[in-house]
């Protein structure tokens, strides 16, 4: 489903070049739950952003469903993000002036889905994360854990095939973190491929596969795992 071939990413300033990712070779199969781990600054968030097409890469190739994303127009990348990828950010990234329902409907609007269908999907997603009764609330009226659940609801409302989560429990206490992880496992069990950046070894162990990044490079064991299977 996801295939990275010799992919490199360099951040450039006038004075310095930083190799954030070096010759990454990675394959992720449909339905996998992959944890991206590594020390701070190792490049795991950059990798996630490249996978989510939020960042461009400099060398190599990125194939999604067998099709290269290299050279896709901005409009095509937007469509790809909108239809295939769901994002969960560490800081939730909800729009504070909007109700939960409006926040969840946001990606669906840009796909041109009709109002009634948007409403149905948003309600379904809120139901899944256990916040159906609070759909008219605003994010500021919720706890951090609840806000992250709303962010997950927003990510899955579009029924993406890939969910990219950047330290989704980073801002949560352990109880809430566990709830969020259980939710992600449930979503994965339903067939959605998940790539999750995490610092927490316990959470990483709950993923079907761990990929470690150090200094922008994958550790040897994680480079390629064709035998990876969906976690039971």
């Amino acid at each position: 489903m996801i295939q990275l071939k010799n992919l490199s990413k360099i951040f450039r300033t006038e004075l310095i070049e930083t190799h954030a990712l070096r010759s990454i070779e990675l394959q992720v199969n449909e339905g996998e739950f992959v944890a991206l781990t590594g020390p701070s600054g190792s490049g795991k968030s950059t990798l996630l952003n490249v996978l989510g097409t939020l960042e461009h890469f400099d060398e190599g190739d990125y194939l999604l469903d067998g099709q290269s994303v290299k050279g896709l127009t901005d409009s095509a990348l937007s469509k790809l993000r909108n239809e295939k990828i769901g994002f969960i950010f560490q800081g939730f990234n909800l729009i504070k002036d909007y109700s939960l329902q409006d926040n969840i409907e946001l990606p669906l609007r840009y796909r041109g889905i009709a109002a009634s269908e948007r409403k149905r999907r948003a309600e379904q997603a809120l139901e899944l994360v256990g916040l159906a009764a609070r759909r008219d609330y605003h994010p500021s009226q919720l706890s951090g854990g609840q806000q992250q659940r709303v962010a997950i609801a927003r990510a899955i409302a579009g029924q993406p095939r890939i969910l990219l989560a950047d330290e989704p429990t980073g801002n949560l206490d352990s109880l809430m973190a566990r709830q969020v992880m259980e939710l992600l496992e449930k979503i994965n069990n339903d067939g959605c491929t998940i790539l999750m950046v995490t610092h927490d070894p316990d959470q990483a162990r709950r993923a079907g596969r761990q990929v470690q990044i150090v200094d922008g490079q994958l550790s040897d064991a994680a480079m390629y795992d064709p035998l990876a299977v969906k976690r039971a």
Binding site: S78, K79, G91, N93, R111
Partner: protein, 432 residues
């Protein structure tokens, strides 16, 4: 439509998030637009074409048929009675009229206090050429002298208390006249037929008298007149028709290019004949001024208005720059939301649609603000310069033009900031 309403809602939410900077942006842009509009109102009216369907056919003939020798002289701005008669001899024009203006006093009888009035002393074709609307009665049947007047509607109502006063007697100065016609409300803006006298910014005249009657009763022009000898032209009736007193305006209607060419030829032949007869020693200099260019020809464009137009345009530019700067700050503070929307799948095209909703809202507010300030400006200018007050008006064309300018300015104010915001780095913004 549903999506556009959503974009409007997003814009409104964004405004509510930081209302003061937005209000300041609107105020600055409205101020620039308002001051510009106030000036544009006068500029537009002063430069408008009062008879757009006909102005290309109306001409002001001028000729240097004067008794003394003069080389490289421009033709005089006004003509003598005899020259108007000569220029009128041609049947080429579809209509022709000599005219001038004078002052008089109007009353119903000798017991009543006199009311000062402006008189246009002219010929029947004047009403046809300039499409003067008649409310009651008729126009004089021919060019002959007669004790018959035509009144403006306002004058009829002022003197008689009603407009239908055809057949009534009225005293103009020391003679009784019969009212044969009453004009409907009419104000040619600008009054180009009087541009040679710099009278194009003034009100329409109140009383209309036959040209021959004006000469018979010694009505001198209250505008410009000049002579080439020492004759006492106050006795207009006896001296004015044959002497060299120049005080008449003359207009012709030439409907086709062929007519215009033929009339130019007629003027050339006329001047050549006059020269041959020894009545015209100067080098010929004939002009046939189109009505559309007559203000420019006579240098009647207001330098003040032009200078003020430039100043207000520069002021609008400064306001636009400042409003753009404020708008940029606002968009940059909202860049996180732009990036989030892009991350969630909005294309730049969809963000530009969002920007159009922003433009629409801003244009609406700026239009209201700009028109209010412009209205205040026009009222102030009308108060300071009452002579120009006829031109401080808005018509539909002008309003549509102002709306288009407002929309364009709002677009310019929003365009660069929104592009900056939608081209920002996605990842960086979402992390902050």
């Amino acid at each position: 439509m549903e999506q556009f309403l959503y974009y409007l809602k997003v814009s409104w939410v964004s405004i509510k998030r930081a209302p003061l900077p937005y209000a300041l942006t609107i105020f600055i842009l409205s101020l620039g637009l308002g001051v510009f509009f106030a000036n544009a109102t006068f500029y537009y009216q002063l430069n408008s074409d009062p008879l757009p369907h006909k102005s290309a056919k109306l001409f002001f003939p001028m000729t240097l048929m004067v008794p003394n020798e003069c080389s490289d002289c421009p033709p005089p701005r006004v003509l003598s009675y005899s020259n108007v008669q000569k220029l009128s001899q041609s049947d080429i024009p579809s209509a022709k009229a000599g005219m001038y203006s004078a002052d008089g006093y109007l009353r119903l009888d000798t017991k009543q206090a006199p009311t000062p009035v402006s008189i246009r002393i002219t010929q029947p074709d004047f009403f046809k050429m300039f499409e003067v609307p008649l409310l009651h009665g008729s126009i004089w049947a021919d060019d002959k002298a007669r004790l018959e007047l035509i009144l403006s509607k306002q004058t009829a109502v002022k003197m008689f208390g009603r407009s239908d006063v055809v057949g009534e007697k009225i005293l103009l100065d020391d003679r009784f006249y019969t009212v044969i016609g009453v004009l409907d409300d009419w104000q040619m803006l600008p009054r180009l037929y009087d541009a040679n006298n710099r009278g194009h910014l003034e009100d329409a005249d109140q009383v209309y008298m036959p040209l021959e009657t004006g000469y018979d009763f010694n009505y001198m022009s209250n505008r410009q007149s000049h002579t080439y000898d020492y004759t006492d032209y106050r006795q207009l009736a006896t001296q004015g028709r044959t002497g060299a007193l120049n005080q008449l305006q003359f207009w012709v209607q030439l409907d086709t290019d062929a007519q215009q060419q033929a009339y130019r030829q007629f003027m050339s032949n006329l001047v050549a004949d006059e020269k041959k007869a020894g009545r015209h020693p100067s080098t010929p200099n004939n002009q046939l001024i189109p009505m559309r260019t007559i203000v420019t020809y006579f240098g009647g464009e207001s330098a003040d208005i032009k200078a003020f137009a430039l100043v207000t345009l520069l002021f609008l530019g400064v306001c636009l720059f400042n409003a753009s700067h404020l708008s940029l700050n606002r968009y940059i503070s909202n860049q996180y939301e732009f990036s989030l929307r892009r991350a969630l799948g909005a294309s730049r095209g969809q963000l530009q649609q969002q920007m159009l909703a922003d433009v629409l809202l801003m244009a609406t507010f700026c239009c209201i603000g700009g028109l209010l300030i412009a209205w205040g400006g026009v009222t102030l200018l009308n108060f300071l310069w009452p002579a120009n007050s006829l031109f401080g008006r808005w018509d539909l064309t002008l309003l549509l033009l102002l709306l288009a300018i407002t929309f364009t300015m709002s677009y310019l104010v929003t365009l660069y900031p929104s592009l900056r915001a939608s081209f920002g780095g996605l990842n960086q913004q979402l992390k902050e």
